[in-house]
């Protein structure tokens, strides 16, 4: 039995390597991990962007550079042109006495308030050297935004594994090989496991490499692997259902779009819903997987919580599987 399962797995590897899908599923998360590592410092910068005149007092420009990203321009025309561009940039230009703050008019309130406050602090002659403020640090080096992006990457990788199975099954149907499998000694369960192995291994490998690239070395790896494996069970169930429910790639494409909705909805629900409304997302296994991964990545996870989350993913995935079992059996026949 095991040999037959591995033969399905081996055949899947060979066929997947012939086209670019498996390679993409391996490479894409790694590329995205590199991109997250490169972009996060820019995304995490919450201060304002300022435009200033080159002819301004150099000490004014130097002062502002301590607190904001500053671009320097030759004349007021260039400044107004810059402010009028579609991103949020405020300008501070010298007048005969004092300064004028120029805004486009559609910036968030924070941009105006921040700019007004910075220029006021400059006019008051406030410097860092005379501060009485003490700064303590908890030593967290990873911003929550990066953790959220990496967690989203994990969710996407898991769903890609499911899509790999879906497209692979659509291909099997188009080639009429599913019927051929039914007349071999390999059982339907064996076929399912064999087809799932490649997606699972590829996804787990990609997740681990992505976490290493993004710098999450010191997380609890047992927890992340446990959450990953239970999430993969969910991805496999979804992948099989998508594959078997779709007669052609157009339908598979439509189904992929539909399944993206609960994935994205769960992430948005977890991040944006108030605590008292979080229960409205409990039906979604994607929600539990996302929550567990987030706790592990932010090093706030404990075993009871992780086991609860993975347990919920498992129970909900198995519920979907058993509800869909007649359909899976019918599809495989």
């Amino acid at each position: 039995m095991l040999r037959k399962i591995f033969s399905v797995f081996g055949r899947d590897i060979r066929t997947s390597m012939r086209d670019s899908m498996a390679i993409f599923i391996i490479v894409m998360p790694v590329v995205m991990a590199v991109a997250i590592t490169l972009f996060t410092p820019g995304l995490n910068d919450t201060t304002v962007n300022l435009a200033m005149l080159r002819s301004d007092d150099p000490s004014h420009i130097t002062y502002m550079e301590q607190f904001a990203k500053v671009e320097v321009f030759d004349n007021i025309g260039d400044i107004e042109k810059r402010v009028n561009k579609r991103d949020a940039v405020a300008a501070i230009v010298p007048l005969e006495s004092g300064y004028e703050i120029i805004l486009q008019g559609n910036e968030p309130d924070m941009v105006e308030n921040y700019t007004v406050m910075l220029n006021s602090l400059y006019e008051l002659g406030t410097t860092k050297e005379e501060t009485t403020t003490t700064m303590m640090s908890f030593g967290h080096t990873v911003p929550p935004l990066k953790t959220m992006l990496v967690n989203m990457l994990i969710s996407m990788t898991v769903m890609l594994a499911g899509m790999l199975i879906a497209v692979s099954i659509v291909g099997e149907k188009a080639d009429n090989t599913i019927n051929a499998v039914n007349v071999t000694p390999l059982s339907q369960i064996g076929f399912v496991i064999g087809k799932s192995m490649m997606g699972g291994l590829v996804a787990m490998g990609s997740i681990i490499v992505s976490l290493l690239i993004t710098g999450y070395y010191d997380i609890n790896w047992f927890m992340i692997v446990l959450v990953g494996l239970t999430s993969l069970i969910l991805a496999f169930v979804v992948g099989f259902l998508q594959g078997l429910a779709s007669d052609d790639v157009i339908e598979a494409a439509g189904n992929v779009k539909m399944i993206l909705l609960p994935v994205a909805g769960s992430i948005i629900g977890y991040e944006l819903l108030a605590d008292k409304w979080q229960w409205t997302m409990y039906w979604s296994p994607f929600y539990w997987a996302y929550k567990a991964n987030l706790l592990v990545l932010s090093k706030q996870a404990d075993w009871p919580t992780v086991l609860l989350c993975t347990g919920m993913v498992l129970i909900l995935s198995l519920a979907v599987y058993f509800l869909a079992l007649p359909k899976i059996r019918k599809g495989l026949s």
């Binding site: 086209d19 910068d45 410097t127």
Partner: protein, 395 residues
């Protein structure tokens, strides 16, 4: 005529298929989400944990004055549960390290909501702890900035910030100088700042702001994906070979497929836009840009499809391009993140153009210029795709 009959035939086939209705259903679902789950003015989730190491009367007097002015609102005390944890806190100046170890705790915080007096909106929730330990414990777990305020020998306030560690140097620099001057002096100087706005541009609320994203990523960009799926389906079923022996030319076949996508996207985008935006957008410009951008992305899909035999083989290219084209969404939602290189992605001007269209004062020139660029680019890519398909004869 051949093009029209091809288009009508393709539309009939699409209407019989499952995908066409999925698109419409998906658009209705997104509309419901927009109307029900996305508030026009979302409630701020910003929070801060504070501890006042000073007589309670002083704190009460400060908040009572703020409540009277209308920029603070007192709400019921909040009880927050905190898990057991141990960690170190480092003084950034002296590098002195203090270790903390907490058990499972339940803390009660006096709670105040900070209100924007102009808009009446909640800007931040402030939790005031009874002890510095409670503030540090929650600040650490919630990954929010905490602060202790104490009195110096002259009765002035000393600030001790507890930062997470990932804050930028620029933000920390601001925290260092923020309280050097008295609050009254700072407020007076701020009130005297001269602010000039170049225009009175109406901004979009949070719900309206989501519309361009849905239109670009669920509409125009989906044309790229779906046209590929249509082509590969026809390839696998041998329809294309059959088409090759008819008198109709290849470009008409490709254009009829593209027109089906444009029709689907126009319907699904209308389902989302009209109920949310009403009569505010310039619909002439809206449909012009929508159809042109869908045509351009579908043409790109055709060109990419011409290099592959099946969707499995095209999968890598397809998703890589889609993910790359989605990157400008970061800049759209985070205006402070706007690197120059991101502006060269076609979805960047597309998002901004749709935003312009749905705003009250549309920059017509900007939208028309982008529509022209997309049309020219789309035509060139379509011609290249046509050449590729004619050359390979495997369409």
């Amino acid at each position: 005529m051949k093009l029209l009959s091809s288009y009508i035939k393709e539309m009939k086939i699409a209407a019989r298929g499952y995908y066409f209705y999925i698109e419409i259903f998906f658009a209705i679902l997104l509309l419901i989400i927009l109307l029900v789950a996305v508030k026009e003015n979302p409630i701020s989730k910003e929070t801060e944990f504070l501890f006042y190491d000073m007589p309670a009367e002083m704190v009460d007097a400060y908040y009572s004055a703020s409540i009277a002015k209308g920029d603070v609102k007192a709400v019921d005390d909040t009880i927050l549960e905190a898990k057991a944890v141990s960690f170190d806190v480092t003084d950034e100046n002296t590098k002195e390290v203090t270790s903390y170890a907490f058990g499972d705790e339940s803390y009660q915080f006096k709670t105040f909501e900070m209100i924007n007096t102009k808009t009446g909106q909640l800007t931040e929730t402030v939790y005031i702890a009874d002890s510095e330990e409670a503030m540090i414990h929650m600040s650490y777990l919630e990954k929010k900035i905490g602060a202790t305020m104490s009195l110096d020998a002259n009765g002035g306030i000393l600030y001790k910030y507890f930062t997470q560690g990932f804050e930028t140097t620029r933000l920390k620099n601001l925290l260092y100088i923020l309280h050097n001057e008295s609050g009254a002096a700072l407020k007076m100087t701020m009130d005297n700042q001269s602010v000039r706005k170049l225009g009175t541009i109406e901004t979009l609320n949070a719900r309206e702001n989501m519309v361009p994203v849905f239109i670009v990523f669920m509409g125009s960009l989906m044309g790229f994906f779906i046209v590929m799926a249509y082509i590969f389906l026809d390839k696998s079923e041998g329809v294309i070979r059959a088409f090759a022996v008819t008198p109709s030319s290849v470009w008409k076949y490709l254009l009829s497929k593209t027109l089906v996508i444009m029709t689907t996207v126009a319907i699904s985008s209308s389902v989302i836009t009209i109920p949310v935006m009403g009569i505010q957008p310039n619909y002439l410009l809206f449909y012009l840009l929508l159809l042109i951008s869908t045509f351009s992305f579908a043409s790109l899909g055709l060109l990419i499809a011409s290099f592959f035999d099946s969707i499995s083989k095209a999968f890598g290219a397809l998703y890589t391009i889609m993910i790359i084209l989605m990157l400008p969404a970061f800049s759209y939602f985070l205006p402070s993140f706007d690197p120059l290189w991101l502006r060269f992605f076609p979805t960047y001007p597309l998002l901004q153009s749709f935003k312009e269209i749905i705003m009250v004062n549309t920059d017509v020139g900007y939208v028309l210029a982008n529509s022209g660029i997309f049309l020219a680019g789309g035509l060139i890519v379509f011609l290249l795709a046509n050449l590729r398909f004619k050359k390979t004869l495997t369409v």
